[in-house]
Amino acid sequence: MNRLAQDMAEPDPARALGGALSASRAPGPAFLAGRNRLWWLAVPLAIFFVFFFVIPVLVLLANAFDKPAAGSVAPAGDFVLTNFQRFLRLPQYYNSALLTIYVSFISSIIAAILGYPLAYLIAKTEHPAWNTFLMILVLASMQLDGVIRLYGMMVLLGDNGLINGTLIRWNYLSEPLPLMYNIFGVVVGTVQITLPFMVLSLIGVIRNIHPSFQEAARSLGASPWWAFRSITLPLTMPGLLAGTLLVFALASSSYVVAALMGGWKVWVLPVQIFERISNSGQWQFGAALATILLVINVAAVFIYQAASSRMTGGRT
């Protein structure tokens, strides 16, 4: 779980590759009269995390292996696989997992295609004011609460929304196009929410390519397209993979996009988990579905690691 998340959230994969090196770099001279006295600085956060992060997550995992007991929240301490057997037996649940993978995969591919040109433009913009302006646009749209952005998308894509409403009023359409409350809507929403993360994962790698590589290709007569395809794109592959994985992880775990843009018709895992627990009180089964969601993300990370180590010749 170590490297995976590191590379995933690493906006600069070149650094991610060197991550192991820099982490073990020689420490400088002692600080505050001997480094051994520094440990107390980490104590508050460490205690906080053990109590409110490590233990709760372990309890949730324990819950997933408990005997199903409607309405009972706390784990009883059994170890049975009933919840997972139920998941594998009933199509509505395993289809939920497959749908989650499908939606997240499509979204991450679209985000990569859409995000690459913008990241390229920002990386190549030398002018400081323009660069800062574009960075603010991307960072601000990343930090703006997703529900607000979903409001905008729902007004745009709804049956009486801007697109359908206008086209019907101008007699181009007699029936609204199904732009929302389906998989299409969820993918559009997911791409919108996750696009800034893709762009930020790519800017660093694109900027890190030494311009002399492209210049060399150009001076040898290569067209810009050829230079891009044979130099820039392969060299930025690690960033592209890291961004795709990050988008996949964010997409597969978002409840609110699927709930609002899917209108409770697109039963991805987060929606299923919430429904099982809040409407049916099946805490143990819900915990098992949450565990499966985590397993999907961890599996995605392993696939990513295998792909990226093949690409870099095992140098990671």
Partner: protein
């Protein structure tokens, strides 16, 4: 058109498409909050402040907005203090377990908020400390998801920090704590501020945790908007959104003044 020009245009067209996807929903929220009509139509029916005024008098959205502000402020202070302290230790220790600790501290970024909220809720109910559906319980969740950002931003500044400056202060007679306060802290202050702003904004827009940790009297703005969006598009919600957008834009402008955004993104090691 020759080939370099075509390549140039392709990059621009792609960038414009991406910016459209990023910004169009935001523009729509602003227009929907300022529309003169009952809902947003195209072409717009003209501008008015009536929904902004309705927001300022709203019994749901204004309290939710203020609740978000209070929650985000308290979250920011706690995350900033414990995050900075841990960052100083983790960037200067040789302890073999420091990497693992850092890994655990960063995990909330990728753990689904729904799963974290669920885990915390089960834990609160199980331990019966009165944290379930309480302000403290929600606050704990917010501190968990924001501290990694403070840790990452401050660590980035500390890793790039030239420690000979601190040694120079020491050799000129400053005590260790004094040297840290007068030299190191001043130099990493912009990074701490940037981390604080990140923590504030992430807490302000945090939705997923509220699914299990929120209650009718612990409703933040994203949760209030989600509840209203399930039934209809209230222009009042869009007006509330305008105020949230203003907050994010202001905070990003402030961050851009404090630190170099390009460097921040390149150096922020959200890593394990």
């Amino acid at each position: 058109m020759n080939e370099p020009a075509r390549f140039h245009w392709a990059v621009w067209l792609g960038s414009i498409a991406a910016l459209l996807v990023l910004l169009l929903p935001v523009v729509i929220v602003v227009l929907a909050g300022l529309t003169a009509g009952e809902y947003l139509t195209f072409p717009p029916q003209g501008l008015s402040l009536k929904w902004v005024i309705a927001f300022l008098q709203s019994a749901t959205f204004l309290p939710a907005y203020l609740f978000s502000l209070v929650l985000a402020t308290i979250t920011m202070v706690i995350a900033c203090i414990i995050g900075t302290m841990a960052a100083v230790y983790l960037t200067r220790t040789r302890f073999w377990g420091a990497k693992l600790m850092r890994g655990i501290f960063m995990t909330p970024i990728i753990l689904p908020g729904l799963v974290l909220g669920l885990a915390l809720y089960v834990f609160y109910v199980m331990t019966d400390l009165g944290l379930a559906r309480s302000f403290a319980g929600l606050l704990i969740g917010h501190v968990l998801v924001t501290t990694p950002f403070v840790l990452a931003t401050v660590s980035a500044a500390l890793v790039g920090f030239d420690r000979s400056l601190e040694e120079a202060a020491r050799s000129l007679g400053a005590g260790p704590l004094q040297a840290f306060r007068l030299v190191t802290l001043r130099i990493i202050a912009p990074a701490i501020s940037a981390g604080a702003i990140f923590a504030f904004i992430i807490s302000f827009g945090q939705f997923d945790l509220s699914l299990y940790l929120g209650t009718p009297n612990l409703t933040n703005l994203p949760y209030a908007m989600y509840i209203s969006l399930r039934y209809k598009f209230e222009p009042t919600a869009a007006a509330a959104g305008i105020f949230a957008i203003a907050l994010v834009v202001a905070s990003m402008l402030l961050t851009a003044r404090l630190v170099n955004l390009g460097k921040l993104v390149a150096n922020t090691r959200l890593r394990w």
